[in-house]
């Protein structure tokens, strides 16, 4: 998922705070804003420095305990639009996922919109009446649907049935739709054949009757429920005016279905009732409630109210009004939150000055939250490029990096928890709590005498340290190409890493690029980038599979847009194809395959073991932090709830304070 304040794509973690092209402008604005705040403070005789306010306030509830009164309009601001006009097959973006889950699309299974302490990482039956029945071999999943659940207007008379889920999968498979994550469904029997045009239907999906859906898989996938909780798997209604249309109301809308979306959720786009599917697709008028780059206006779905069959979403609000303001100054919007002019900013962070104001002002402290995100930042070492083809070197690097210093440059504790392993703890059920195979005092690496000794001890085991003094003396350790991103913070962090590694004889050649260029370089395995300082990952759904399948799985290595930066699991043929001199690298494919087939606690346990294996036997990365998400809300918002699935405030759980609606 996208992860940073400027909402990059789900492809990767993107830049960190204060990175990218807006850096200088943001910096200048920051200075100006600080000056203004200082002037104001002086004028009011206030003392903003007086408190020792916590910046790391954590809580799943904010202004909870207040009486919940349904109704009202929540005013939201965000500085980026969705990426594909709300097309559920194309959107592969945290922002859109959040709107789908809370408001627009129901799926067979879904989330409760809550945090890690309240089962927010689990899925529950949503349009399914109960948990699916899974055959003994794990290859046949049968879902029974709730009866009497209808779509939003204008299809309020159309009941959601099993065929609608098959229709959604067909649209996901169609090449002309260019769906964002169809690979998750390749495991369904016949999916790839249908995608290739070799079949008229997806043979593995059968509507046994209107309320029974049977799915056959080609191999076990213990997380199928999670995959079916993604928006692309949400039902697409038939078109009553053209019942034979294979894609139902989405027929003829390969590029713009999102603007004709028929909701199955608690809310719908304002004006949805005016959609007219009896017209040819080109003559249909899109919904008024979504204007790209301008606004999202959601109102209650009367069908959802009438059906009353949603146990996951209380949906207290009458409406949600979102102002989209791309390129606008987020700090001004944050001031508007403090002034109760808007209720929430849909972003993953707030400006440092705002965080300080909210965390230190007694009147605002209850409106500031630091939540555990579902992502990490790490350094990637390419196993196929010397000296990182040597496990001892990689271990030494793990010992040497000053993670605490790196985090301090990121903004301190609020930016995240220091990571000793790869997978965010929320996805491992806390099984690896306290685990850090490369622990150093205060996580300061080679900047402490003990840390430096540990790093040197590891390096002394390397073939690149010929005299065994703990300092790499081979030419491979000189001028090691390092790719990072531009930005005051990022470049300072890179300099810190370079300084740490120099202590063990590795001299980095630091190169900083804008985000797109930097990713362009590491996306191509032929570039053989040895060291990347800006890697990171974010879940697609709360299962460790989404962490291992892309960056750690050999078969996932791609010729272009490759996100397995370390090349772990690459075959000798792949290495030769991309021109590497190293002919063999370690793999954890077998372990990943093993975990993928499991379910429940055994699956979580398996992923924890995989993480240990990754860190101890391969060590292709230096985990830096498990990132946090900072949120601010207006004083009008009550029952604040944080959704772990989409890493945002859950609009289906919050309400407005009595009298403020």
């Amino acid at each position: 998922m996208a992860d940073h304040p400027e909402h990059t794509i789900r492809t990767d973690r993107g830049g960190r705070k204060e990175r990218g092209g807006k850096r200088m402008r943001r910096y200048l604005k920051l200075v100006a804003f600080v000056a203004i705040l200082a002037l104001a403070a002086a004028a009011c005789g206030g003392d903003e420095e007086g408190g020792e306010g916590e910046t790391g306030v954590t809580g799943a509830t904010g202004a909870t305990g207040a009486e919940i009164e349904p109704g009202g309009t929540l005013n939201v601001w965000m500085d980026t639009d969705v990426t594909a006009q709300f097309d559920p097959q194309k959107e592969y973006f945290q922002v859109s996922f959040a709107f789908y889950r809370c408001c627009l699309l129901r799926t067979l299974m879904s989330y409760n919109g809550k945090g890690p302490d309240e089962d927010g990482e689990k899925i529950f039956p949503d349009l399914a009446a109960a948990e699916p029945t899974v055959s003994e071999d794990g290859l046949t999943w049968t879902f029974t649907l709730k009866q009497g659940v209808h779509y939003a207007p204008p299809l309020q008379d159309v009941e959601i049935t099993a065929q609608d889920f098959i229709r959604a999968m067909m649209r996901t498979a169609r090449p002309e739709v260019a769906a964002g994550y169809s690979f998750y469904y390749s495991v369904i029997e016949g999916f790839d054949e249908y995608a290739a045009g070799e079949a008229d239907t997806i043979t593995g999906m059968t509507a046994v009757d209107d309320y029974t859906l049977e799915i056959k898989l080609t191999g076990p996938a213990g997380d199928l429920g999670y995959r079916l909780a993604m928006p692309a798997a949400a039902p697409i209604p038939p078109n009553p005016a053209d019942p034979e249309a294979p894609l139902g109301v989405a027929e003829g809308h390969d590029d713009d279905y999102g603007r004709f979306l028929v909701s199955s959720g608690a809310y719908m786009f304002e004006g949805s009732e005016a959609l007219d599917f009896s017209l040819p697709p080109k003559e249909q008028e899109p919904v008024e409630g979504y204007q790209p780059d301008t606004l999202i206006s959601l109102v209650r779905n009367p069908s959802w109210v009438a059906d009353g069959q949603d146990d996951l979403r209380p949906a207290y609000l009458d409406a949600i009004s979102v102002e989209i303001c791309p390129g606008c100054d987020q700090e001004v919007a944050e001031k508007k939150v403090a002034a109760d002019e808007i209720d929430h900013i849909f972003a993953n962070g707030v400006a440092a000055t705002t965080a300080r104001t909210f965390s230190q002002d007694p009147e605002l402290q209850d409106q500031y939250f630091v939540e555990p995100g579902s992502g990490n930042y790490y350094i990637a070492m390419n196993l196929a490029v010397p000296p990182f083809d040597d496990l001892a070197v990689r271990k030494a690097v793990n010992y040497a990096v000053n993670k605490e210093g790196w985090r301090r440059l990121s903004g301190g504790e609020a930016s995240g928890e220091i990571a000793g392993y790869f997978t965010p703890p929320g996805l491992l059920g806390g099984l690896l709590e306290g685990y850090d195979p490369y622990a150093t005092p205060n996580s300061q690496g080679a900047d402490t005498p003990e840390g430096l000794e540990l790093a040197k001890a590891a390096m002394s085991e390397s073939k690149y340290d010929t005299d065994g003094d703990g300092i790499c003396d081979a030419p491979e350790c000189k001028g090691v190409l390092s790719v990072g991103v531009v930005g005051r913070v990022a470049e300072a962090q890179d300099a810190l890493i370079a300084q740490n590694l120099k202590a063990i004889g590795i001299e980095l050649d630091l190169n900083s690029f804008d985000n797109s260029t930097a990713y362009g370089k590491i996306f191509d395995p032929k570039n053989q980038i040895p060291f990347s300082t800006f890697a990171g990952w974010l879940q697609d759904y709360p299962d460790a599979f989404t962490f291992y399948f892309f960056p750690m799985y050999g078969p996932s290595i791609l010729d272009q847009y490759n996100t397995n930066y370390t090349m772990v699991g690459a075959t000798p043929e792949q290495l030769e194809k991309y021109g590497y001199e190293v002919t063999e690298v370690p793999s954890m494919d077998d372990k990943i395959d093993e975990c993928t087939a499991l379910e429940g606690d055994a699956r979580v346990q398996c992923w924890a073991e995989a993480d240990k294996m990754l860190m101890e036997e391969i060590a292709p990365i230096v985990p830096l932090i498990f990132s946090n998400v900072e949120q601010i809300i207006s004083s009008r918002v009550v029952n604040y709830t944080y959704s772990l699935f989409d890493n945002q405030m859950a609009y289906d759980q919050v309400a407005l304070a009595p009298g403020s609606a």
């Binding site: 203004i36 990426t83 260019a178 508007k336 697609d540």
Partner: protein, 319 residues
């Protein structure tokens, strides 16, 4: 007129070609990467590349964009080519939605800076060396020195968040632009944009007027017995305004292409905001659309300025 129109077309072609070449040869990012997700199959990449038209030879790619500039139904900014890589929405729709905001911002600010800048410049020139003149100089110095983003933040903080006299940043979604103008949502942005320009215009007016008032024909006018008022306004100011009109035309045209900082600060969904987001997002169709519109405004403004010259200066004849 025909010559002017041909010139306009030539400028648009040159600018569009230059923009295209810059985008193709010096790309700041890969527009496909954003669209294909985190694990794209080669087929998906090919599909998206085809959808974006990037699989075709460069000259065809350019020709498709060039066709979109022809003001003809079905061609002008047609959505097969001019759709945003970032949102996949129509560029024409986005620009038409944003143009009124930018127009309101620019026109209001321009009127304001003329109303402030020119009178101050005149008074300052007439009362050269007086307290008024010195005060005007200080105003000009401060006005020119203040960065727009800083001034905007100060004005917003003081007049909205602190005193509550003026509306907040942003525009209400249920209002037309005229309603927002009437309710004062543009007052702070106008002043933010206008103060710097007003300061500059006051200095320009003062300097030009002083220079003009030293001309022989002014002395002649006085010798003919004209009142000082007539000498200044009919003869002096008219000539002094000629270079100001030139600058004004270009300034307004430039702002019509988008006042990036002011729009960003005051959360006004205008063309400048659209341009900057599109640039960061490697959104070439949107960049091309905004660039062409800005170019159009600048060429038209130049044309308008030339006409005004003829009105202001009897020696100039428009052919």
């Amino acid at each position: 007129m025909i010559r002017r129109t041909l010139f306009l077309i030539l400028v648009l072609v040159v600018v569009s070609l230059f923009t295209f070449v810059v985008f193709v040869k010096l790309p700041s990012g890969d527009p496909i990467a954003r669209a294909v997700g985190r694990h794209p199959s080669p087929e998906l990449v090919a599909e998206v590349r085809e959808n974006f038209g990037l699989d075709r030879p460069l000259y065809i790619q350019y020709w498709r964009f060039a066709q979109g500039m022809i003001p003809w139904p079905g061609l002008f900014l047609n959505e097969d080519v001019y759709f945003s890589y970032r949102t996949r929405a129509s560029v024409k729709e986005a620009m038409l939605n944003r143009l009124p905001v930018t127009l309101a911002l620019t026109i209001g600010a321009a009127i304001l800076w003329l109303l402030i800048g020119i009178p101050i410049g005149i008074v300052s020139a007439i009362r050269r060396g007086s307290l008024i003149d010195r005060s005007a100089m200080i105003f000009a110095l401060i006005g020119v020195s203040m960065p727009v983003f800083w001034l905007g933040l100060v004005l917003l903080y003081v007049f909205h968040f602190w005193l509550g006299w003026l509306p907040t940043a942003g525009l209400p979604k249920d209002q037309t632009i005229l309603q927002s103008v009437a309710e004062g949502y543009f007052v702070l942005p106008w002043f933010t944009l206008a103060i710097t320009s007003a300061a500059f215009y006051s200095r320009m007016t003062r300097g030009n007027l002083l220079e003009t008032m030293g001309e022989d024909y002014i002395r002649t006018a006085r010798a003919k017995g004209l009142s000082e008022r007539k000498v200044i306004y009919r003869h002096g100011l008219r000539a002094a305004l000629t270079p100001i009109v030139t600058m004004f035309g270009l300034d307004v045209a430039f702002l019509l292409g988008g006042a990036v900082i002011t729009e960003s600060l005051f959360q006004l969904p205008g063309l400048g905001q659209y341009a900057i987001v599109s640039l960061y997002g490697t959104d070439f169709p949107a960049v091309m659309g905004v660039t062409m519109l800005s170019t159009f405004f600048i060429v038209v403004a130049n044309f308008a300025v030339d006409i005004l010259y003829a009105f202001l200066d009897p020696r100039v004849r428009y052919t």
